[in-house]
């Protein structure tokens, strides 16, 4: 009587689609003679260390902030959420550059304030910057899970005499690990695939080796190295898949009403990541803006960014549904889901090139907005899949059973019960894709319609040329538009609020 779950065919198609760029990489790599260069071993060590530290940092920042945004009642809650998620909209190379530029001997901070600061560089500096720009992955997935946990369990634990903090540690955290892990996975893959940050901060990682090859037109070697990087990706994917959750019914939603002083303290503690990741770069750019003036910025760039990213976010979430669904149905589905993560672990330029090859197979799509959106989706699908999956994973099957006994088909039960109850996860997923697409560069450059300029490409253009003043406006716009995008999506989440 075992039949294939309904989501399998769709998930299979999507997984296949996600695998296509990997096939291209394999084909490109087939020309390459060199399999592995033992000189890359230290580089490998650096890469793994960076990944590990990034994950630790992102979790340490992201999880407390998830609690802060999910459970603490305060005025302007949504604004806080937006500010704290905003680092995802800022390209991390920009952050790396400005942090490097501000800290250390002779840095901007020392010049303004006369206070010597330690330099941000090397392994620790890179990990810090990486964590600053990836913690929102963890924050968003964790927050979504926190919002659907039943608060009566904390109550039970407190009546058993456990303090609030300890209750959170023992009752909330253990049920949260799968969501934290889903976010951490994304942070890890980001750390693996990012080129700019370690390069600017002087850390020799795998992506640099790939980049050097790529720039020397050793595309096949770069593809081969990327495939090797995917071995690490597979390992990380495997580790993450071992974190499992216990399903439960969503229930009352917990909210804390801190005193004014407590609230101030919490807000003060929540501020540094935002200051470092967003305010500092913008301040630096604005000072340059004042020194040398701006030029060449067009509002159309902002619209292009927002439009393409929004489309990508929507498509990604829709495609994430069958994949996430399949992942919870069995081993095969789980595998399909894991495959969709590959696109996120390969360095952007290599992935971008692979997508060019792919796009050229469909000349009517090549260099159209549609292909760009497809590229975004292929790269960022895991952001949506992870969020949707963890939200669905935590949901007890009892409610679906109730719907089916009332005569709803699995599809209807999914649409009317599972979906609304996992909407938070979907919103989180859409938000992540949106923000990530806003800052995406290589694929935008390579695949967008000719002349299609976005905030990220413009920012890169002026940054790359050393005209930092021109970077101020697009930088601010990135943050502002990300904010609007988030507001739009969060208002969808609000409608499902079933708390008291």
């Amino acid at each position: 009587m075992r039949t294939w779950p309904k989501s399998y065919p769709l998930a299979f198609l999507i997984a296949l689609l996600a695998l296509l760029p990997v096939f291209v990489l394999m084909q490109l790599a087939s020309d390459s003679a060199e399999i592995f260069d033992s000189r890359n071993l230290t580089v490998l060590g650096n890469t793994l260390a960076l990944m590990g530290l990034t994950v630790v940092g992102a979790v340490m920042i992201g999880v407390p902030l998830a609690f802060f945004t999910a459970y603490v009642h305060m005025p302007l809650r949504r604004l806080w959420l937006i500010l704290l998620a905003a680092p995802l909209a800022m390209p991390s190379y920009v952050g790396a550059f400005t942090l490097y530029f501000s800290f250390g001997r002779g840095g901007e901070i020392e010049q303004w304030l006369g206070i010597p600061t330690p330099p941000v560089s090397g392994l620790w500096g890179t990990a810090l910057v990486m964590a600053l720009y990836t913690y929102p992955f963890v924050m968003m997935t964790t927050r979504a899970a926190l919002l659907s946990q039943d608060a009566s369990l904390i109550n039970a634990s407190r009546t058993l005499g456990l303090s609030l903090g300890a209750s959170i540690r023992r009752i909330v955290m253990p049920r949260l690990w799968n969501s934290v892990a889903a976010g951490a996975l994304l942070a890890a893959l980001y750390a693996l695939s990012d080129f700019g940050t370690p390069a600017i901060l002087g850390l020799d990682t795998f992506t640099r080796v790939i980049f050097v090859e790529y720039n020397a037109f050793g595309l096949s070697q770069a593809a081969m190295l990327s495939l090797q990087l995917m071995v690490i990706v597979i390992l990380v994917l495997y580790l993450e898949s071992r974190v499992k959750a216990t399903p439960e019914q969503p229930g009352r939603h917990l909210l804390f009403w801190p005193t004014k002083v407590q609230r101030w303290l919490m807000q003060l503690a929540a501020l540094p990541p935002f200051l470092l990741a967003i305010v500092l770069p913008l301040v630096i750019f604005v000072t340059w803006l004042l020194r040398e003036g701006s030029g060449g910025f067009e509002w159309a760039y902002a619209w292009n960014s927002a439009y393409a990213s929004f489309l990508a976010a929507m498509v990604a979430v829709v495609l994430a549904l069958p994949v996430a669904h399949a992942a919870l149905r069995g081993q095969a589905g789980r595998l399909m889901e894991r495959i969709t993560y590959f696109g996120f672990g390969v360095p952007g330029i290599v992935m971008g090139t692979a997508l060019v090859y792919l796009g050229l197979k469909l000349p009517f799509l090549y260099q159209t907005l549609a292909l760009l959106v497809i590229a975004y989706v292929l790269r960022f699908l895991p952001l949506a899949v992870g969020s949707v999956r963890t939200a669905t994973e935590n949901l007890d099957g009892g409610l679906v059973n109730a719907a089916r006994v009332l005569g709803a088909s699995p599809r209807e039960a999914f649409m009317r019960v599972t979906l609304p109850l996992t909407l938070r996860g979907m919103v989180a997923g859409a938000a992540l894709v949106f923000l990530e697409a806003m800052r995406e560069l290589p694929a935008t450059l390579m695949l967008g319609p000719t002349g299609f300029e976005t905030l990220a490409t413009y920012l890169w253009r002026v940054y790359e040329a050393g005209y930092f003043g021109h970077a101020a406006l697009p930088g601010i716009m990135l943050v502002v538009i990300s904010g609007f995008g988030l507001i739009l999506m969060l208002s969808g989440e609000r409608r499902t609020e079933f708390s008291i």
């Binding site: 009587m1 019914q249 006994v405 005569g407 209807e412």
Partner: protein, 334 residues
């Protein structure tokens, strides 16, 4: 008409329901009772198609499910009130009740009848336990299924409401001519509402019969113990009489038995306080409103329970005389 034959259900390796057979007439109500964890909910889940079955066959008017041929829950037109309510937390009471209804008059009917009018727009999160249960009930009944499964539908309601609701539900089921299986832990409910009672023990049906038969002529000691208070005293049987330590008692003749245990219900015995002599001492007593239940340790060391008027309160430890007061024949076990 529901027909279940040789139904077995396992969770991983553990067989929870074992070779169960039952049939249910057109509009018959079967009360299913049994100790916790005996598999009642599992039986209902299997009938609703929520878990796969290992052996057997389930058939309702227009479908037949078997281990080979699973019928999806939504194709069975089986309604179920879940033990843990399973209300949709994101929908209001009204939306829950009207979940799949086009025409909401039946929903309104049940919302009214169950006193949920004022809570129409409330989300389940802010309902009390009993209110949730009523919503779950309304939701199932409003969807007009062709078989209704009720998993302890009234356990969280107060006695007065419970009392009136069970008649309302019975009435509605009879009016709609749908068969129902109703799991309960409430003996009064089991004995009074159902057309038949099924007593489930470790996944098997011990007895399935009318309430009167089950109570008066329990198949075995388990059933006797499970339905109502039961005390057993050994006796020598001769024809329609048994001789026990309390004297002679009329019994239901069982030719093949010459000795065994006689089943005494608390009202088959009477007791009165005595200054001296008597045949036992009060072990404990319990106030039940209109009556008092006494547990008496007979001089033989055996414990019997006797129900008496609430007016005469006998202190624990006092001596009493227990007599056989029944006029109808008692059940005996070998």
């Amino acid at each position: 008409m529901l027909k279940v034959s040789n139904l077995s259900v396992s969770y991983s390796d553990v067989r929870v329901v074992d070779q169960l057979n039952l049939t249910l007439g057109e509009d018959e109500i079967l009360m299913l009772i049994g100790p916790t964890g005996c598999g009642k909910t599992t039986v209902l889940r299997a009938l609703a198609g929520l878990i796969p079955i290992q052996t057997g066959e389930i058939s309702l008017s227009d479908w037949t499910a078997s281990p080979q041929k699973h019928i999806a829950p939504e194709k069975r037109r089986v309604g179920m009130v879940f033990q843990d309510f399973a209300l949709f937390p994101h929908l209001t009471v009204e939306q829950n009740v009207c979940f799949r209804l086009k025409d909401t008059t039946r929903a309104d009917h049940w919302i009214n009848l169950l006193g949920l009018e004022a809570l129409r727009d409330a989300k389940p999160g802010r309902l009390s336990g009993g209110q949730k249960q009523r919503v779950a009930l309304a939701r199932t009944l409003a969807h007009a299924p062709s078989l209704v499964l009720l998993d302890e539908p009234l356990s969280n309601l107060d006695a007065a409401l419970k009392d009136s609701l069970r008649w309302d539900i019975r009435h509605a089921l009879k009016m709609a001519k749908v068969p129902a299986i109703w799991v309960t832990h409430d003996q009064d409910e089991a004995l009074s509402v159902g057309d038949r009672i099924g007593i489930l023990d470790k996944g098997q049906i011990s007895q399935i019969d009318t309430p009167e038969q089950c109570f008066d002529k329990p198949q075995n000691r388990f059933v006797a113990h499970f339905l109502g208070e039961a005390s057993f005293l050994p006796g020598q049987f001769s024809g329609e009489n048994a001789l026990t330590e309390l004297g002679a008692a009329p019994i239901r003749q069982q030719p093949e038995l010459t000795q065994g245990d006689v089943l005494f219900r608390p009202d088959d015995l009477s007791l009165h306080a005595v200054a001296e002599d008597g045949n036992g001492r009060i072990e404990w007593q319990r106030f039940e409103g209109e009556s008092r239940l006494y547990a008496v340790t007979l001089d033989s060391g055996r414990l019997v329970k006797v129900r008496a008027s609430h007016e005469n309160a006998i202190a624990i430890g006092d001596r009493v005389a227990v007599n056989i007061a029944t006029t109808h024949p008692l059940a005996v076990f070998g």
